[in-house]
């Protein structure tokens, strides 16, 4: 109870409320801007959160996460362009509703659905994260190494089109994590040690500059060809606060519950993410409404049900993805990978010890996530006409701001030391270029990030496990939990591949007819 009281005090402070509100507004704006992702938004605000105490800093990042996931529905409904992959399935019924002149109802439904999905998945997080964390008590080095490998293998197989490319970038991330000082022997592991021995590079590359470079700078380079793209036309109408009736909501109970379940569960599987969950939820809603019974309109005809299902699911992913992040230290998606980075930078190690010794921080996460969902609902509800205008901001003005924010963000991490700060900024720029080249070559960036984050955990536990097993590398297959993890990875990779194929199948016959 004492831990809860401390967390409540931290969260209800003016500072936390203010920064969560700032994060929420920025998150919705980022989500509403086609091409900008939640992950990029979180990465760009990492340096600010680094300067703040835990509750306002992490709360702000969570607010960006929730806001961006929810805000993506605005261009999806009004323009037929999803703000980010989270709103891919919202496009179908959303644009059809806009064409029918029901844009306000579609936007209102998306906001309400996001709020319901976010709150229900938060409940799941509160219930399940401590249980999963307790499970980690049984983990030795072999289990921890297997877990890190599993997280990496799953994200590598899912984040790109091709498995080999994901594995290659994941391995590249591990190699980058190994730069610097060997954790066991203190020997230097850097190229050209004679040159770099006396520079900040001798301690390895910082996580924040890498993250900002990969998600911020690389996005600017990748978006340059879009500058000369024909701008999409959006007619801004007078938006009113319109929600589906209570009766309608009651009739959609099954859609809401199933979408929440799908979103939370998919979110909790490391490496999956919202883009898969929304299609499964949409597909389920399509089947539920096919008969047209209980006052439900068939999904795919431009109805509230078709907006509700994916929007409940994508926000349910936020809570679900935080379960493995907080309990196991394995992120659910690329956004939570950056959030995990934010925790590690603050010196907070996820797992049972976090729940045992720093429960006030866990409560602070739960409470700020609630606050973020609440603000997301209120801000979108009251400011929908303003947020809808955001999609008109030209890319020519956005890209330079993203670039300068990335460079200054990386610089700010070192704060007082000019040389270290310039090195960090150079690393950010370098990784921006690497991220851009990877994207151009069709390589996913998320496995690289996870490799950098999990590299330390993997190496330490792998070496310790092999040493304890007296050089026996088969130790990972003889320990039941480690073996289970490896089998789980194989299972979830197969499952997600099947789901991807199913989602693609669902997508094909439902191409939206744009007005």
């Amino acid at each position: 109870m004492e831990a809860f009281r401390i967390a409540l005090e931290q969260v209800l402070s003016i500072e936390t409320i203010l920064w969560v509100a700032v994060g929420e507004v920025l998150g919705i704006i980022i989500g509403a801007l086609p091409g900008l992702t939640a992950t990029m938004g979180i990465a760009l605000l990492l340096p600010l959160s680094f300067q703040l105490p835990f509750a306002p800093g992490f709360g702000m990042l969570l607010a960006v996460y929730c806001g961006a996931v929810s805000g993506a529905s605005i261009p999806a409904i009004l323009l037929g362009i999803p703000g980010n992959p989270n709103a891919l399935a919202t496009v179908y019924d959303g644009t059809l509703m806009t064409a029918k002149g029901q844009a306000s109802l579609a936007l209102g439904s998306a906001v309400l659905a996001s709020f319901i999905g976010g709150i229900l998945s938060l409940l799941a997080l509160v219930l399940f994260a401590p249980l999963v964390a307790r499970f980690t008590l049984m983990f030795g080095p072999a289990e921890k190494a297997a877990l890190a490998l599993v997280g990496l293998a799953i994200i590598a197989s899912i984040s790109g089109d091709e498995l080999a490319k994901g594995i290659a970038t994941g391995a590249l991330g591990l190699a980058i994590a190994s730069f610097g000082v060997d954790p066991f022997t203190n020997s230097l592991r850097i190229p050209f040690p004679e040159v770099f021995r006396e520079t900040p590079l001798a301690t390895g590359v910082g996580l924040i500059p890498v993250l900002i470079g990969l998600y911020g700078v690389s996005q600017v380079f990748a978006d340059l060809p879009r500058l000369s793209a024909a701008p999409g036309e959006v007619t801004l109408q007078r938006f009113t606060e319109r929600f589906p009736s209570f009766r309608k909501l009651r009739s959609m109970w099954r859609i809401i519950l199933e979408s929440t379940g799908v979103g939370t569960l998919i979110g909790a599987i490391p490496g999956t993410g919202a883009s898969i969950a929304v299609f499964i939820a949409y597909d389920r809603a399509k089947k539920i409404t096919a008969s047209g019974k209980h006052g439900l309109e068939p999904v795919g005809t431009g109805c509230v049900e078709g907006v509700f299902a994916p929007e409940v699911a994508n926000n349910a992913v936020t809570g679900g993805a935080l379960i493995p992040t907080l309990a196991l230290g394995i992120p659910g998606d690329s956004s939570t990978a950056v959030l995990l980075g934010a925790l590690l930078i603050k010196g907070i190690l996820p797992g049972y010890q976090l729940f045992q010794q720093k429960m006030h921080l866990v409560y602070a996460v739960f409470l700020t996530l609630f606050l973020a969902n609440l603000f997301m609902f209120l801000f979108q509800l009251k400011g929908i006409r303003w947020f809808a205008r955001v999609i008109r901001i030209p890319l020519a003005y956005l890209l330079p701001i993203v670039l300068i924010l990335s460079l200054i963000g990386a610089y700010a991490v070192s704060g007082q030391g000019f040389t270290t700060a310039v090195y960090d900024t150079a690393i950010c720029l370098f990784f921006g270029l690497i991220g851009y080249l990877l994207k151009k070559g069709g390589y996913p960036v998320a496995p690289l990030v996870l490799g950098v984050i999990l590299g330390g955990m993997l190496e330490e536990n792998f070496r310790r496990a092999v040493k304890l097993a007296q050089g026996n590398y088969l130790v990972f297959f003889t320990k039941p939990i480690a073996l289970t993890f490896i089998l789980l990875a194989v299972f979830s990779v197969t499952l997600s591949l099947i789901q991807k194929r199913r989602a693609a199948k669902t997508m094909r016959p439902m191409k939206p007819t744009l007005p």
């Binding site: 391995a171 700078v217 340059l224 060809p225 024909a230 200054i408 704060g415 000019f418 190496e459 070496r463």
Partner: protein, 269 residues
């Protein structure tokens, strides 16, 4: 068109193989050290992770390379235009120069100048899309993201001296905003200390006074500029307003609120 996409994937896979080879070679040059107390030599050693990662990268890269050679994936990549390539290299070189000049020139002036140039050139490029819509080349509305080839590439240097002059003007404006805010907030700080008033000498008051002074000059300059129709080109007006505004906002947040040591350069009086 499609050839470009296939070649890009092929080059990507070849690049990964090359990176893996470099990584493996580098790993082999590392000193193999084992953890203290490992008399049995069971620790895989400090070379294990970089070497292992390099090998995994190499196998995955070779597999991908083989796949690209055997059955190149058809992707609809278009070839980038000369201007696009210019913008890419300009942004990259500009960012590197920004890093090198940051300490000497200072954050405010350099950021304003860098942003002004980026806004200016990016807006020029974006005008192509708008022009194409006007001339009906974009097809139906809502076809956002469809790339268009413009009649001719827009040159990457300001074609009139006015462009350079307005860039300088933006830097002068940011310097004026900073100096006004700085002088008044510093005087207030000294005055507060001599009067023994902790409120006047506090950081919050300094930030607020700085914001008020610099904000007034900024908004005043923009209003006057608009009234006398100083900026003939709308994108130029926006470039000045956004570059100065962004530089000042970042300065207030990072330097004044979070105490990040952003260099003042030539404004360090």
């Amino acid at each position: 068109m499609k050839r470009t996409g296939n070649r890009r994937n092929l080059w990507g896979a070849a690049g990964m193989v090359l990176a893996a080879t470099i990584l493996i070679s580098y790993s082999l040059t590392l000193e193999q050290r084992r953890m203290i107390g490992d008399e049995g030599g069971h620790d895989p050693g400090s070379r294990a992770l970089p070497l292992g990662s390099g090998l995994v990268m190499l196998f995955a890269g070779l597999y991908d390379l083989g796949k690209q050679i055997r059955s190149p994936k058809k992707q609809d990549h278009r070839k980038s235009s000369r201007t696009e390539r210019g913008l890419f290299w300009g942004t990259l070189v500009g960012s590197i120069l920004y890093l090198f000049l940051l300490e000497r020139v200072g954050f405010l002036i350099l950021t304003t100048l860098f942003l002004f140039l980026l806004f200016f050139f990016y807006s020029k490029e974006a005008e192509k899309g708008k022009e194409a819509v006007k001339t009906g080349k974009a097809g139906q509305s809502g076809e956002a993201g469809k790339h268009l080839e413009a009649e001719k590439d827009i040159p990457l240097l300001p074609h009139t001296p006015a462009g350079v002059a307005i860039g300088v003007l933006a830097c002068v404006l940011v310097a004026l905003c900073y100096l006004a805010g700085r002088i008044v907030s510093r005087e207030l700080f000294y005055w507060g200390r001599s009067m023994g008033s902790p409120v006047l000498a506090s950081r919050t008051v300094s930030v607020l006074v700085f914001l008020l002074m610099s904000g007034s000059i900024y908004l005043g300059a923009l209003l006057i500029g608009r009234r006398i129709a100083f900026f003939k080109v709308r994108s130029m007006e926006w470039s000045v307003a956004l570059s100065v505004g962004t530089a000042l906002a970042l300065f207030i947040v990072f330097r004044m609120i979070f105490r990040v040591a952003l260099p003042l350069g030539i404004l360090d009086l």
